[in-house]
């Protein structure tokens, strides 16, 4: 009977998670959705604590308090610009927790006289493998996003061969865990190999590809939980894990599509400038015009419709508040202002939206690429701040370019494009951007935040 109530409670929790996730799909219902999810979690934890097999609550309580404190401090202290690395870190923690639980379950199941079922051993191996890859992969992603390790792709010869070999070894050890579950070392050997694999898989993925990796690791953390559900034959873990796995996978797909690259290409391919493309000198020499903040302010003053295109550079220079102030100022003068958000702008899906929301920009002003592009030729001034590859017209015109076919925001079609950028250095794809040399383009060289503040100052004087 106790089991019955336990399972009904878990089912209720799973239903709450489903409604919670559904709520997260619309800004109006999102806060409630998140709360529903939290309620589901509270319920699941609460009924688990009534489980009669628990002999002592001390260890649990200490763990809960320590974890909750760390989690709460991280959640409150973190700056919005640092959100990608925090999400990566949390993904990793979920993954390692699943791997640890599966490891403990394996030891418990082999301590008795009965042999563990094949379901348990297979699931344990899967949980250990996915969990460890998620944990270490996420730590590397965290380090890269935080700037602790080189953000660029780190490549060495034989990398893919090594990864393939490690993958094969991991699978072989997994088979070992299934055949001989009583051998206590095999599982931890598997975790070790998977850890190395996790590091090596994320090391070669650089900066602008991070949104895909973060989304994929999100999916993995769900799958690890689902695998642990199979270990414990616990339905709420299976349901929840697969929900999250599916959600992460969809995000991964959306990110890949936004770069016109396959997942395999993002994970294993190298985005390198192709031979024979125009050099920076050929593209830029004698054609690039630079402007002062005052000149840009005059342009804005005469404009009726302005579109702001933010990129990772806006996050780096923490320019979201000045950008929002600029937009508000322009709106006060009757100018229509919108933001055009490229799906992979920034370092995580939706990165720009979060930053702009922090700066109080109404979400109705944020437009998708597909929504804004058809009307781009009616825009008087497009202001690009800290974006490069996502506005590079080569994606449309040069089939041999590494970014060929990637959907871009067509700022080149606006009457005037103002690009705030520190220098003419290339973006992540490593190729020059002919946009900067167009007749209707003006470069505003300098730090994003400072330049926007200068434009605001100049606008206030006119």
């Amino acid at each position: 009977m106790a089991d019955f109530f336990l399972n009904v409670g878990y089912l209720l929790a799973a239903v709450l998670f489903i409604f919670g996730l559904k709520g997260l799909t619309h800004p109006r219902t999102a806060v409630r959705g998140n709360l529903l999810g939290a309620c589901g979690m509270l319920l699941a934890v609460g009924i688990t604590l009534t489980d009669q097999h628990i002999v002592s609550f001390q260890v649990i309580l200490v763990g809960l308090v320590v974890g909750a404190t760390i989690g709460a401090v991280l959640a409150i202290k973190i700056q919005m610009t640092a959100m990608p690395e925090l999400v990566a870190l949390f993904n990793g923690f979920g993954g390692i927790a699943s791997a640890l639980v599966a490891g403990a379950a394996l030891i418990e199941s082999t301590s008795g006289s009965q042999l563990p079922t094949t379901q348990l051993t297979v699931a344990t191996a899967a949980s250990g493998l996915i969990g460890a890859v998620t944990f270490w992969g996420s730590l590397v992603a965290f380090g890269k996003l935080r700037g602790l390790i080189n953000e660029n792709a780190i490549l060495f010869s034989g990398q893919q061969l090594l990864n393939a070999a490690l993958g094969a070894i991991a699978l072989a050890i997994s088979a070992g865990v299934v055949i001989d579950p009583a051998n206590g070392i095999l599982y931890w050997l598997l975790v070790l190999v998977a850890s190395v694999l996790g590091i090596l898989l994320v090391i070669p993925i650089g900066g602008a590809d991070m949104p895909v990796v973060v989304a994929l690791l999100n999916s993995y953390s769900g799958l690890a939980a689902a695998a642990t559900g199979f270990v414990l034959t616990n339905n709420v873990l299976i349901i929840t894990g697969s929900l999250v796995g599916a959600s992460g996978l969809i995000l991964t797909q959306i990110m890949c599509k936004a770069m016109n690259r396959s997942l395999t290409n993002v994970l294993f391919g190298v985005l390198a400038p192709t031979e024979g493309g125009p050099t920076a000198d050929q593209v830029y020499t004698g054609r690039v015009k630079s402007a002062t903040p005052e000149e840009v302010a005059l342009l804005f003053d005469a404009a009726r419709r302005v579109v702001i295109v933010p990129g990772y550079g806006m996050a780096v220079s923490q320019a979201q508040h000045p950008v929002a102030n600029l937009a508000a100022l322009l709106k006060e003068r009757g100018i229509q202002v919108e933001y055009a958000i490229h799906p992979v702008a920034g370092r995580m899906p939706g990165h720009m939206n979060v930053l702009l929301a922090e700066a109080d920009v109404p979400y109705e002003d944020l437009k998708d690429m597909d929504e804004i592009n058809p009307t781009m030729d009616q825009v008087d001034v497009a202001l690009v701040i800290g974006a490069n590859d996502v506005v590079n017209p080569l994606a449309r015109t040069d089939p041999s370019s590494p970014i060929a076919g990637m959907p871009i925001i067509d700022v080149d079609k606006a009457k005037t494009v103002v690009i705030i950028k520190r220098s003419l250095s290339p973006g992540f794809a490593g190729i020059p951007n002919p946009l900067f040399a167009l007749d209707n383009a003006l470069m505003l060289f300098g730090d994003g935040k400072k330049m926007v503040l200068d434009i605001i100052a100049a606008l206030k004087e006119t």
Binding site: Y10, A13, G20, L21, L24, T25, H26, P27, A30, G33, N34, G37, A38, M41, L49, D51, H53, I54, V55, I60, V62, G63, G67, G71, A72, L74, A75, I76, M83, L86, V87, F90, F93, G94, A97, S98, L100, V101, A104, I107, E108, V214, S221, G229, F230, T233, N235, V236, S242, L243, V244, G245, A246, S247, L251, I341, G350, H351, V354, E364
Partner: protein, 93 residues
């Protein structure tokens, strides 16, 4: 064997439910969706609590304790940071 089939059925159906719910998320909410779903994936905490509480051996208790800590960071941090982000989205509308 029967439980395995039942578990797999649940797994497959839940994946479909996941795809159905999440296919039409607006890009605006991609980040909160990710951190929110991430918090939910901390459900592994349930398993961690059982490992830490049943105290079958010292090593499983230690593993369980560590898992409780990691999963709770994931759950509490995830829900709180998602809430913080979503409040920012809400306050203007």
């Amino acid at each position: 064997m029967e439980t395995l089939i039942a578990s797999i059925t649940i797994f497959v159906l839940a994946i479909f439910v996941g795809f159905e719910i999440i296919t039409k998320i607006p890009p605006t909410l991609h980040t909160p969706l990710m951190s929110g779903s991430n918090a939910i994936s901390g459900i592994t905490l349930v398993g961690a609590i059982l490992s830490a509480g049943t105290q079958q051996t010292l090593i499983t208790t230690v593993l369980g304790f560590l898992a409780v800590v990691f999963a709770t960071i994931n759950v509490v941090g995830g829900f709180m940071v998602t809430n913080r982000m979503l409040e920012m989205f809400k306050k203007k509308s």
